[in-house]
């Protein structure tokens, strides 16, 4: 059930260059799943006007809290970054369909790029809780942009890459993937489209699930802003309501 709720900020901190960790509390948390997202009204004026889609990065049902990890890009995330504990924010969610966690039995590889990393964290937590081994390959631009390395390391083997080589392995996530054993059941990935495409091609014989980004209007499937062409009989899907997670090889990346 999609709800619109005024949630209360319980914590916000700056964890890497322009990256913020924002935790909020509210009833909506009870129905959240990894890979879903929320659509946030960052301010209360007409500017910014539209909501901003942000992934659910960690869910704490006991405390009715969930965490988002986001990068300050433009006006909306800038306004969001000014929120302090106690402030209220207008959240629409949970939205979309998350990662099918049941598909992983023994071992899963999670591949994230930049601000595609966040939804993989809750996924890794839940997979580990089910006894699934998780291997994490996380790509960033540069050392200063790296976040949650420790948090992922606690859960399983974690490889960090940076484009400029200032931290971890120099290069793209695919460099690491080439070296990894392929004894996993399934892979999950989230990141920029070119990365998803590369991952899909490299793991062409594997079962995988990819989480896509698109510019959004409504976030609930009504405005046709976020469509992607598909290879299947549907012809197209909406990222917001049919996704953001799709099985590999279905979406024709935009």
């Amino acid at each position: 059930m999609i709800q619109k709720e005024w949630m209360t900020v319980t914590n916000q901190r700056n964890i890497a260059n322009r990256i913020y960790e924002l935790t909020v509390r509210g009833g909506m948390v009870a129905s959240m799943e990894p890979g879903q997202f929320v659509h946030i009204r960052t301010g209360d004026s007409f500017e910014p006007l539209l909501r901003r889609p942000i992934s659910i990065a960690a869910i704490n049902p006991e405390k009715s809290e969930f965490t988002m990890l986001y990068r300050v890009e433009g006006r909306g995330t800038e306004v969001l970054a000014a929120k302090r504990a106690g402030d209220k924010i207008d959240v629409l969610g949970p939205l979309g369909n998350g990662f099918p966690i049941g598909e992983a039995k023994q071992k899963a590889v999670l591949i994230g790029g930049g601000i595609g990393v966040p939804p993989l964290y809750e996924l890794a937590c839940q997979l580990n809780a089910r006894g699934v081994e998780t291997v994490h390959v996380l790509g960033f631009e540069t050392a200063e942009a790296v976040f949650y390395e420790k948090e992922f390391s606690v859960l399983g083997e974690t490889h960090i890459t940076t484009v400029d080589g200032t931290h971890g392995i120099k290069g793209f996530v695919t460099h690491v993937m080439n070296e990894l054993p392929t004894d996993f059941d399934v892979y999950y990935s989230c990141g920029p489209s070119p990365m998803l495409k590369a991952v899909e091609e490299l793991y062409v014989d594997k079962k995988g699930f990819l989480s896509y980004e698109q510019r959004m209007g409504c976030g609930i499937g009504a405005c046709f802003a976020c469509v992607c062409k598909t290879n299947d009989e549907r012809d197209y899907v909406k990222v917001c309501s049919d996704g953001p997670v799709f099985p590999a090889k279905v979406v024709v990346a935009g």
Binding site: E47, L49, L50, Q214, R215, C218, A222, D235
Partner: protein, 311 residues
């Protein structure tokens, strides 16, 4: 007495508030959020003869107090709308206004003829003002003669009253209004979006894949109000006003300049519950203004014109 009730050609509206076309899909998504029977009416997404995928993405971009869209009239096509979308909406006690689009007069007439026979379609809204498709659409809306001819063609085949949706991208919108009135239109809906553009600041590349798009939201409200005001002076046709409606004051403003009912577009994206919220709050607002019925508001701004002239 229902203070909010508004009766327009083909439409018995329990209240004057309805979602605008393209901002509400075919209602299904919002039906998961609230009971659609609360709405005055529903203007469904534009329907074309064949299914359309629309434009490449990105299709939306934000602007100061507004947004641009270039969806490109994506829709499943007439057949699917008739067999799937409209029947789904029959469970709700709400009149449907079907938005009709096309690239030729024959297209429009064909869709109008068929869709007007659906039991819950109580009126048509003829979209002669979509700025986001290469052919048709806006060209029908910017030339009075062509607009009139199209109106006549649609009127000839429609089983329900026909409202023409006007484009703001014209020198004189009253001229188009009068032309479609001469063509037999039963009402007007206005305004569609203003043509606009946004760039990526780094590269200078247009953000929308279609390069230009339609501007909607609070930023266009002053233009929309002015146009409804001007058109109201020139015709007695019913007007469903829209353009930036986000608050109760906005609803009152559109009625004041002469709209008989009001449609809410972009604001549905900002707050998906906006329509039922506005409907619920409207009676309290009428009380506050010391006004009995919605109709009393319609056109009240025009009294000041006379007063000013006398002064």
């Amino acid at each position: 007495m229902n203070r909010l009730k508004v009766t327009l050609p083909g439409l018995e509206l329990s209240n004057p508030i309805m979602p605008a076309s393209g901002c509400f899909g075919f209602g299904k998504e919002f039906a998961g959020l609230y009971d659609l029977s609360q709405l005055g009416a529903i203007m469904i997404k534009a329907t074309t003869r064949e299914m359309r995928f629309g434009n490449p993405t990105p299709r939306v971009a934000e602007t100061a107090a507004g947004m641009l869209n270039a969806i490109g009239l994506q829709n499943p096509g007439l057949d699917k709308v008739m067999t799937q979308e409209l029947p789904y909406l029959e469970q709700f006690d709400v009149p449907i206004i079907a938005n009709v689009a096309g690239t030729t007069t024959e297209d429009y007439a064909e869709v109008a003829r068929a869709i007007s026979t659906a039991p819950n379609v109580k009126a048509l809204e003829i979209n002669i003002s979509c700025p986001n498709v290469k052919e048709g659409g806006i060209t029908f809306g910017t030339n009075p003669k062509i607009a009139q001819a199209l109106t006549e063609a649609v009127k000839a085949v429609s089983a329900v009253p026909v409202y023409i949706k006007l484009s703001p991208n014209v020198t004189d919108i009253t001229e188009i209004a009068k032309a479609v009135e001469a063509g037999g239109a039963d009402g007007l809906t206005m305004i569609n979006t203003l043509l606009g553009m946004r760039l990526d600041a780094q590269t200078g590349k247009p953000v929308l894949a279609n390069r230009t798009g339609g501007l909607s939201g609070p930023s266009i409200k002053p233009v929309a109000l002015r146009m409804v005001y001007d058109v109201r002076k020139q015709t007695d046709l019913p007007i469903i006003g829209m353009g930036g409606v986000s608050t109760l004051d906005d609803v009152i403003d559109f009625l004041s300049v002469g709209a008989d009912a009001v449609a809410v577009g972009t604001a549905n994206f900002v707050n998906p519950f906006i329509c039922p919220e506005l409907i619920e709050e409207l009676p309290g607002k009428l009380d506050e203004l010391g006004i009995k019925t919605v109709q009393e508001l319609t056109g009240r701004s025009h009294q000041y014109e006379l007063a000013n002239h006398r002064a």
